[in-house]
């Protein structure tokens, strides 16, 4: 699989330039290497290589591992492909942090991504240098910074960030194994692996409080009637320490993107009201803060959601009320929410389901089912636009019914109610077309054949050929195709910019950037065209990454 490294190279080249790209390429193709190894393969001076490594470590896409070889301590460097691929999301992150938390937040994320990591002190310095009225701005920035930190969009940088996850895992495992007297049995090994995994997850989770200090606010003396515990809660607020480095927490952003996508999906297939209710549900059940790997959210009841229902939902429920006009009363918040819960539960995506061990009225958001639904939906859409309606139909029948013979795919048998006679139900396509379309799907690797020989000699004439679609495989391949397409688009952007290099250089010139009139009409037109092309390519790359999110991260 060489598409993923290729895409990584494209990204590194675009973000860090050709020198870092060369180092990254060696690490991507050869695996982990020592400094001298990298120097040997890149044919670059040690100093340059070292600088490139520093840049990558600073941006958290390169890891090191120390190992003992004989008497020497050797340091190996490796590159994190997943981390690089996440950099595709940078634009989205800057935009949405601005949407959610205001302009200052987007500046903070922007700066943080530029520098890899950032302290509050650096930020204040930047504000002093760049903003017009720094004194007022500093407070606002400080506030946004701690807001981002407390919501875990940014996390403190820890020493283990510079170690690859696999190393951390192996280390923790080695410690656990050493505690045993004998070598671990298979079961013990599995147990250890599970425990270590959890330990690492916990470490990532507990990161939240690091780099924060408690701040006592002055709201204490306001109200005597407030109970002691509540007063305590009011007075403790978290604040970011000045000289702790912070970095972007991609996971948290991905989770928010996921939730937004889920809400969009509900709005799309049910209606706006359903989307709103689902958003309230997610907010109420704290799904914005829980881990992303979880299959379901915390349970919440309709009453909880009803208590925060906005007022415009009462007047415009989005529900057809003609039937109820006899009663002629306005529905209560609980009615509306219960109704939407039912709609969400019954929809084909099965947004929510009843919580297993909670009371009757408790529901959880079923992320797994939604994810599968979204993946299926996208896949179907793709097949439809690539192969047409009837081919897509055949594939869908195969997915639904499991393994089918060609004839059955065309006309599968279903016993009727009396169970006496097999009634034929048709996919309603002529035999010739069916065969052609199955072959087409087969060449594109969407469906496969399973042979079931009837006799011991396995003669093809006495063999039943069953067709089936393995969805997981399709998704994997689709993901690779997506990586490849993104890499293609990125390369094309690079190509488009390179062909206009002369013009771009001219644009950069000081006299030209100050006075646009120095450009000829032809140049202006070319610039406009170039901008249009690059924009189109960038938008496509962003949308492709959205698809990657659905298949990989959600």
């Amino acid at each position: 699989m060489s598409t993923q490294p290729r895409l990584c190279r494209e990204i590194v080249l675009e973000h860090f330039g050709p020198i870092v790209e060369q180092v990254a390429q060696v690490l991507l193709t050869k695996g982990r290497l020592t400094l001298s190894g990298i120097v040997q393969f890149t044919q670059m001076p040690v100093r340059t290589v070292r600088e490139a490594l520093v840049v990558m470590i600073q941006h958290n896409i390169c890891f090191y591992a120390e190992a003992r070889e004989g008497l020497r301590q050797v340091c190996f460097y490796s590159i994190g492909q997943d981390e690089i691929l996440l950099r595709l999301r940078i634009g989205r992150i800057i935009y949405w942090s601005g949407e959610w938390f205001g302009k200052e937040a987007s500046t903070i994320t922007h700066l943080m991504l530029l520098n890899g990591r950032l302290t509050l002190k650096d930020l204040k310095q930047w504000v002093k240098d760049n903003e017009s009225s720094p004194q007022q701005k500093i407070v606002a920035y400080e506030q946004k910074f701690s807001q981002l930190a407390s919501k875990r969009f940014i996390t403190a940088v820890m020493p283990e960030d510079s170690k690859a996850r696999i190393d951390r895992k192996l280390e923790a495992e080695a410690i656990a194994v050493n505690e045993l007297l004998l070598g671990p049995s298979t079961r013990e090994k599995a147990e250890i692996e599970f425990k270590v995994q959890q330990q690492l997850d916990d470490e990532d989770q507990s990161r939240q409080m690091i780099g924060m200090k408690r701040k006592v606010t002055e709201t204490m003396d306001d109200d005597d009637e407030v109970s002691a515990s509540k007063r305590f809660a009011l007075t403790v607020e978290m604040e970011v320490e000045d000289d702790v480095f912070f970095r972007i927490n991609y996971k948290q952003f991905t989770k928010y993107f996921r939730n937004e996508a889920v809400i969009d999906q509900a709005t799309d297939i049910i209606n706006r009201g359903a989307g709103q209710v689902l958003r309230l549900f997610l907010e109420q059940s704290d799904s914005f803060t829980g881990g992303i790997g979880k299959e379901e959210s915390q349970p919440t009841s309709a009453l909880h959601v009803a208590s925060v229902l906005p007022h415009d939902m009462f007047t415009e429920t989005g529900l057809d009320s003609r039937e109820d006009s006899v009663h002629n009363e306005r529905p209560t918040a609980a009615d509306i929410v219960t109704e939407y819960f039912e709609l969400l539960r019954q929809s084909p995506a099965k947004f929510i389901k009843r919580a297993d061990n909670k009371g009757h009225n408790f529901f959880v958001v079923d992320f797994k089912s939604i994810r599968l639904y979204m993946m299926r939906k996208l896949f179907d859409k793709l097949m439809k636009s690539r192969f047409g309606n009837s081919t897509c139909r055949i594939a869908r029948i195969l997915i639904e019914k499991g393994k089918l013979e060609e004839k059955q795919a065309r006309a599968f048998d279903i016993m009727n109610a009396h169970g006496l006679q097999a009634v034929q139900k048709m996919a309603m396509l002529p035999a010739k077309d069916t065969r052609e379309k199955l072959a087409l799907l087969c060449t594109h690797g969407i469906c496969d054949i399973q042979e079931v020989p009837k006799s011991a000699d396995r003669a093809p004439s006495r063999t039943i050929f069953l067709w089936f679609v393995s969805l997981d495989k399709c998704y994997q391949e689709l993901l690779i195709d997506l990586y490849r397409s993104i890499a293609n688009v990125r390369q094309r952007i690079r190509h488009e910019l390179a062909t206009r290099q002369r013009l771009l250089e001219k644009m950069e010139r000081k006299d030209v950037s100050e006075n646009q009139d120095l450009l000829s009409a032809g140049d202006k037109k070319a610039i406009e065209e170039l901008n249009k092309k690059v924009e189109r390519l960038e938008v496509s790359a962003g949308r492709l990454d959205e698809m990657v999110m659905v298949y990989r991260d959600f």
Binding site: E323, E339, L382, K425, P430, R484, S485, Q491, H495
Partner: protein
């Protein structure tokens, strides 16, 4: 299928006795077996097996019978290469002709498409409240159409020239389900169908109701708005996608499809 254990089926009417009177015993035997098969028809190989006659004899007899216009050969839709025989005066059953969807032993796809889109339009019109596009029916809404209602609609509007059974309609609706146009729902509890004539035909007495999935898709030919990201870029439909490399003879830098797409 009927049992063939009787070696000499009873002659039921004087008419047939009269018709077969001039035949030899082997032809009579074959005639009786063909008659037994009714409007389903019988395959020549089966005939041979049941009568224990030599293939040549069977063929000779069939030729005689055909000449006398007592039996006829029909094409079976499931096995187009096999020769099926039935009595001359019978009309082949829907099993043999393939039912409503076949015209001259061939699947009539145009007919199916027209009917399916008519069904979809009908179901669509009953799946969402009229007026504001953002308003939807409640979860316990009970008036989504069932297969019987769709059938009645098709019948009343005279869309089909052929008589369609509820099973045929269920076929069509399954087709729409596989196309992801409509979904099958359990009728809301307490809702009783006033038709009641098709309960037994599809599974366990439950009558399924159907609902259009996407409000933005108004007909079977329209796409549900928006194209996915991968199909939008040239790579999604590129015939040489697999050969394309970063610096090979085919590469994104010299890609013609990209040129076309970007200059559009």
């Amino acid at each position: 299928m009927k049992a063939y254990d009787r070696s000499w089926p009873k002659q039921s009417s004087h008419f047939s006795v009269h018709r077969t009177s001039g035949l030899d015993s082997e032809s009579k035997l074959i005639y009786s077996h063909i008659k037994e098969a009714g409007n389903e028809g019988i395959w020549t190989k089966d005939l041979k097996k049941h009568t224990n006659l030599h293939l040549n004899v069977v063929n000779r007899c069939l030729k005689v019978l055909e000449q006398k216009q007592l039996v006829k050969a029909v094409k079976h839709v499931k096995w187009p290469t096999r020769r099926f025989y039935m009595l001359y005066e019978l009309t082949p059953s829907s099993e043999v002709t393939g039912g409503a969807w076949y015209t001259d032993q061939e699947l009539d796809t145009d007919f199916i498409d027209t009917l399916a889109s008519a069904c979809y339009k009908y179901i669509y019109s009953r799946s969402f409240p009229r007026g504001d596009r953002n308003v939807i029916f409640k979860a316990d809404y009970g008036h989504y159409p069932s297969a019987a209602e769709v059938k009645r609609f098709i019948h009343e509007k005279r869309i089909s020239s052929v008589e369609l059974s509820t099973t045929d309609i269920v076929c069509l609706l399954d087709l729409l389900i596989h196309d992801d146009m409509i979904e099958k729902k359990m009728p809301f509890a307490g809702f009783m169908d006033d038709e009641g004539d098709s309960d037994m035909e599809d599974g366990g007495g439950v009558e399924w109701v159907y609902k259009a999935i996407n409000r933005n898709v108004t007909s079977t030919t329209a796409s549900d708005g928006g194209i996915d990201a991968l199909s939008e870029v040239p790579c999604g439909k590129c015939p040489v996608f697999k050969f394309c490399t970063a610096d090979g003879p085919i590469s994104p830098s010299n890609c013609e499809y990209f040129n076309k797409w970007l200059n559009f």
